[in-house]
């Protein structure tokens, strides 16, 4: 039995507009490419991938820790192990995030219209720092006590103490396990989408696109 396929509506309202925008800006072959420029076969491009991999395990171990509650890992050896996975995952995440940031700086990765990609990436880095901080003050151990007592002065001095109190475990924990992970993942997703939409930037000094032999040496963000 066959069913007549309805005709594709023209326009499609807001839904159609969003779908067409996504399909036009980031088709699947761009999101999941099978070919890349030869110069991408450089070890520096692994730093971003490793950062994302570390974020995956930080999130996964964080979900387990959140599920069993903030006391669990202090009393259970398996809980302590998951906390350790979370702890070292964060360390790996930041090591490679910083390496990715530095190599993209020296590669001037913002060239040819990739300024927003850099901006979103740096904002994701900054948000990750805040996420890590709320994690450190949510540990419910001596480190958490001392970090919170110390950090309150800097936070209060800026006036941010009006909205965030690091001595309030409930507030810090809630922000750490819900709000900031969502923001970090969203920013990383946008960052990756921009990378895929724009493609990997050409090497500094490479011949101008389509102009054999003419070298470009600008490091401006706009094309």
């Amino acid at each position: 039995m066959s069913r007549a396929q309805p005709e594709e509506p023209t326009g499609g309202g807001w839904t159609g507009t969003i779908r067409n925008q996504i399909a036009g800006r980031l088709p699947l072959e761009e999101l999941l490419p099978t070919r890349q420029p030869d110069y991408v076969r450089s070890w520096v491009y692994l730093f971003g991938a490793i950062t994302i991999a570390a974020l995956i395990w930080v999130m996964a171990s964080g979900v387990v820790l959140a599920f069993f509650g903030p006391q669990w890992w202090h009393r259970s050896s398996i809980g302590r192990f998951f906390n350790s996975l979370h702890f070292w995952g964060v360390q790996v995440f930041f090591v490679f995030l910083v390496l990715h940031l530095w190599t993209q700086f020296w590669a001037a990765g913002w060239r040819d219209g990739r300024g927003p990609t850099w901006v979103i990436g740096v904002v994701a880095f900054l948000t990750s720092i805040v996420a890590a901080f709320t994690g450190y003050v949510s540990q419910q151990n001596f480190d958490a006590q001392w970090i919170a007592v110390n950090a309150k002065d800097a936070i209060n001095a800026t006036g941010l103490g009006a909205i965030f109190n690091p001595l309030n475990f409930g507030q810090a924990y809630g922000i750490h396990i819900m709000l900031l992970p969502v923001v970090v993942v969203l920013l990383v997703a946008i960052h990756i989408a921009l990378v895929r939409m724009k493609g990997v930037v050409r090497p500094i000094g490479a011949p101008a696109p389509g102009v054999s032999g003419a070298a470009t040496d600008d490091t401006e963000a706009s094309a």
Partner: protein, 335 residues
């Protein structure tokens, strides 16, 4: 950039097969192996938290000295300022910037009553001596209270601990010794931990009172110094037991180690008294520069001037130089 734009962008670039998903899966597997090994071998820091009970037991004189300062309203927390109260002891300003004052009080804390008097009132149920001492203290004039507390605080410098009680030389301290030793007993029993955390809604997750109280004393800071966690020990960079801390804050914590941020007299209105605000302002400016770096002429040109990119794309430049890239490029290789 549309697909056509990208085709133009990569027109003369040699394209090669690339498995993005495979790379991510392998990277994830590699990272998992590394973190599992690190977690299994090194574990993670978990030094038990300090409690008021532990503090009062381990260093009763420090506890009582701190409690007396809370009752007198002369502790760091009592004199702090926003967001805890309207005083100015810890309010930082820089030039025209007064964000701490502008933000105002949002987490009201009254150390004298909340840390000392109210817990003692609860402990006084069925304790005639404590009830009388509280009544005497509260009915005394402010000058009299100050006189008793000043004398007692000075006497604490030579205090002794005898059978769980802090004793000082004979003097005119009014009911203060009774109040303090009852608070000490309450603290040692663990009761004060609960009373400082208690809320009128049963559930509680806010440790502001307990941590401010402990932060006013010397015991918590002493333990932190032993673990090299204080600000001038680069404390943000590591945790207890030599575990790594927030090493990514190295530039932020560097500020606390250098002039003018670590000097009393300072420079251009910046000194140790407003270091938190000054360093945060400096870091905010540096962060803005980092965020907007692609749009700042000069700074965005640094990668071109210092050719570290020659290492990043070493093979590409080598191929370009040898002319191999042009020779090996094929039309169907382009996007």
């Amino acid at each position: 950039m549309s697909t056509m734009d990208k085709a133009t962008y990569y027109r003369d670039i040699r394209m090669v097969p690339f498995d993005l998903v495979k790379e991510l899966v392998l990277a994830s597997a590699g990272v998992l192996i590394v973190v599992v090994v690190l977690a299994a071998v090194l574990s993670s820091p978990d030094v038990p938290p300090v409690t008021i009970a532990r503090w009062a037991t381990a260093d009763p004189v420090d506890f009582v000295t701190t409690a007396a300062s809370e009752l007198a309203g002369s502790s760091t927390s009592a004199d702090y300022g926003p967001p805890y109260n309207n005083n100015e002891g810890s309010v930082q300003t820089l030039w025209f910037l007064k964000p701490q004052s502008w933000a105002g009080v949002h987490t009201a804390v009254d150390p004298s009553n909340q840390f000392v008097v109210e817990p003692l009132q609860q402990a006084a149920v069925g304790n005639a001596a404590l009830t009388a001492a509280l009544s005497t203290f509260q009915s005394a004039s402010s000058d009299q209270q100050t006189s008793w507390l000043d004398a007692y605080s000075k006497a604490l410098a030579d205090a002794k601990v005898d059978n769980g009680q802090v004793t000082v030389a004979v003097g005119d301290y009014g009911p203060v010794p009774v109040l303090m030793n009852n608070l000490l007993g309450l603290a040692r029993s663990g009761g004060l931990d609960g009373l400082l955390l208690a809320s009128d809604r049963f559930f509680a997750t806010d440790y502001t009172r307990s941590l401010l109280f402990m932060g006013d004393g010397g015991y918590l800071e002493g333990l932190a110094k032993e673990q090299k966690l204080t600000g001038n020990q680069w404390g943000m960079m590591h945790e207890t037991g030599r575990y790594p801390g927030q090493a990514w804050l190295w530039l932020y914590t560097l500020g606390y180690q250098i002039p003018p941020f670590n000097q009393g007299h300072g420079f251009l209105g910046i000194n140790s008294g407003n270091a938190d605000l000054a360093i945060t302002v400096m870091m905010t400016l540096l962060t803005l520069i980092l965020v907007l770096l692609p749009f700042i002429p000069g700074l965005r040109d640094i990668p071109r001037w210092i050719p570290i990119h020659r290492l990043i794309w070493r093979r590409y430049y080598s191929d370009l130089k040898d002319g191999q890239r042009a020779a090996t490029a094929k039309p169907h290789d382009s996007v």
